[in-house]
């Protein structure tokens, strides 16, 4: 084969600036993390200690709790965002009064600073003076210590995450619903399907691409989430609302760099083992349709 003298109008050096930044600041650290997670490390010298960091991770109770909490938090926020996102999207595409205002109101928290939201809700969830419990007291209920009760703190944060993130899920679902041809609904109506039947038989199956997106995005986000938890509880009370990302930060602060990096590797593996099979399964289902 003769080599053409002509140069491609799409030269690979176009990729170069991006590649340099991406490789040095993302790929190299990611690959390096595999090594450093096997060491005791102070940023200058690293001594190999095999799988000790991982052993420590799975033997210390507050660290395994962080792993558990990560999964609970991610599944919970993802599931609720999916369900409420779909219901809100159906409601906000049904031509109700004030529809566009409602879309705006539901979406706006997505754009607001997570730290700001976290601080605000920490105040609103104050056990005695917060609006949550004052409101509950007004109707004769005794509110819980949303963020001070160790068994509740993680779920309270997840609730705020839902509040802040449901707008994005709704937005994606609205785009997904817009792509469904009205013909399907007319055909279903002619077949005598009720509204509920239309929802289950037409909307849910046909909006599946949006569902895949919402679940995937919110799961990845949930597994990696840090700032909201950090702003509201710092993993407390005790270690009750710690997740992997906050554990990583705490170990980093404490100077256990090897251990912190091991946490990173575990988080990476966790995301991969959840997201990859899920994507594979979704892809296979899409082919079936």
């Amino acid at each position: 084969m003769r080599c053409p003298v002509q140069r491609s109008p799409y030269p690979y050096w176009f990729v170069l600036p991006a590649a340099v930044v991406f490789v040095t600041l993302f790929l190299v650290p990611t690959v390096a993390s595999l090594w450093f997670s096997l060491t005791r490390w102070d940023l200058y010298t690293a001594s190999y200690i095999g799988l000790d960091n991982f052993r420590q991770f799975f033997s210390e109770q507050n660290l395994t709790l962080g792993l558990m909490n990560t999964v609970i938090y991610a599944v919970l926020t993802s599931a609720t965002k999916t369900v409420f996102g779909l219901l809100l999207a159906v409601l906000l595409t049904s031509g109700i009064w004030g529809q566009s205002f409602l879309r705006t109101v539901v979406f706006f928290p997505v754009l607001v600073s997570t730290i700001g939201v976290g601080i605000t809700f920490t105040v609103l969830m104050h056990p005695t003076k917060g609006l949550f419990n004052v409101g509950l007291a007004a109707i004769g209920l005794h509110g819980p210590g949303w963020l001070t009760d160790a068994s509740l703190a993680l779920y309270s944060v997840a609730l705020v995450d839902l509040w802040k993130g449901v707008g994005l899920a709704t937005l994606i679902y609205i785009a997904g619903l817009a792509a469904i041809s009205p013909d399907y609904y007319e055909a279903a109506r002619i077949d005598g399907a009720t509204r509920v039947q239309q929802f289950w038989r037409v909307t849910v199956p046909l909006v599946q691409p949006a569902t895949v997106t919402v679940i995937t995005l919110s799961l990845i986000g949930g597994l990696r989430s840090f700032d909201l938890i950090w702003a509201m509880t710092k993993g407390g009370p005790g270690f009750s609302s710690d997740v992997l990302a906050s554990v990583i930060y705490k170990q980093y602060q404490a100077g256990f760099y090897g251990l912190s990096t091991a946490g990173n590797v575990i988080l990476f593996v966790l995301i991969a083992t959840i997201i990859l099979p899920l994507t594979w399964w979704f892809n296979r289902k899409e082919v079936d349709l």
């Binding site: 053409p4 003298v5 002509q6 140069r7």
Partner: protein
């Protein structure tokens, strides 16, 4: 002004051979048309000449210089695309002057050339519009203007009229022919419309499956098509072609007779029945069903009284038959 010489040009995309060895000389100032069915490689061949594709084998000379591997902009060519490919974000003025501004020509000189070109194409009033504010014919003219300002040795056109409606198409056909007469530059024009080929070309190149079937002037191809493929492709309605019993009788593999050379009357070689008559005004196209032969098409004077169901006899005009 330049001669274009293709020698053994081949092109394959992966394992698929699209152009299978083309030798062709296009003379200086000639209007050369590539015709052929869809997918036969006309565009690919044109793009090889333009330098948008690099040939897998063979050489290409423009104006005596080998340019087989030169950049498109260094070949002295200009191209008009089927989609016009006008830059949507630039005005007509900027579209026409784009190449000149890339060549760092002074602004006032660009302005002068653009205005002059616009004047020849009657685009003066449209110079500050964007392409989406133009009609199909106007866009076509801008695309031609952009080609003209490059002052090319060879113009390349890839089905430039296929997006226009019928009346605009015949008008632009005349404009391009006049442009050729005025500039006297070599032009290579791709089309799958044999009417465009017949009316515009000095030389027609009939392509089929990546090879040349025949090269010649329009009347040469009409009067002496070298192969049944060319015979069927040039001229409309299509030539009647028969294989089998009739061809055997005529001692050939394929026997052909053009519709305009079929005589209808009370006497004749074949007994047929009229199935359908298309009245075109001056002419009429008569579709016959001939016993033992099948469908036969005749083109006769428009004042015929023939009607579907009539029996009629048909015979070929002597000396106008083709045997392959």
């Amino acid at each position: 002004m330049a001669e274009v010489v293709l020698t053994g040009i081949r092109k394959s995309f992966g394992a698929v051979d699209v152009i299978k060895g083309i030798d062709l000389t296009i003379k200086d100032g000639e209007f050369c048309v590539f015709v052929g069915p869809s997918g036969c490689g006309k565009s690919t061949l044109l793009r090889i000449i333009a330098g948008l594709e690099v040939a897998t084998g063979g050489t290409l000379h423009i104006d005596g210089k080998e340019v087989s591997k030169a950049e498109p902009s260094e070949r002295g060519i200009a191209m008009v695309f089927q989609s016009y490919a006008l830059y949507p974000h630039l005005t007509v003025r900027q579209n026409i002057g784009f190449g000149l501004s890339l060549a760092k020509m002074p602004k006032d000189e660009i302005a002068r050339i653009v205005e002059a070109t616009a004047a020849t194409l009657q685009l003066e009033k449209l110079l500050d519009r964007k392409p989406k504010e133009l009609s199909g014919g106007q866009r076509q003219r801008v695309a031609i203007g952009r080609a003209i300002v490059r002052n090319p040795k060879v113009f390349l056109f890839d089905e430039p009229l296929s997006n226009l409606d019928a009346s605009l198409r015949s008008q632009m056909r005349i404009e391009i022919t006049e442009l050729h007469a005025k500039l006297a530059t070599t032009m290579i024009y791709v089309t799958h419309d044999q009417v465009e080929a017949m009316t515009m070309a000095d030389k027609i190149v009939v392509l089929n499956g990546g090879t040349i079937e025949q090269v010649g002037s329009p009347m040469e191809l009409y009067n002496a098509p070298a192969t049944p493929f060319v015979a069927g492709f040039i001229g409309g309605p299509k030539m009647n072609l028969f294989e089998g019993k009739l061809a055997e009788e005529m001692r050939c593999r394929t026997y052909g007779i053009r519709p305009e050379h079929v005589l209808l009357g009370a006497e004749g070689r074949w007994q047929g029945r009229v199935k359908h008559v298309e009245h075109l005004g001056a002419d009429a196209i008569v579709h016959l069903d001939v016993a033992g032969l099948g469908a036969l098409i005749a083109r006769i004077s428009g004042d015929t009284g023939l009607r579907p169901g009539d029996d009629v006899r048909a015979s070929p005009q002597p000396g106008k038959e083709f045997r392959y």
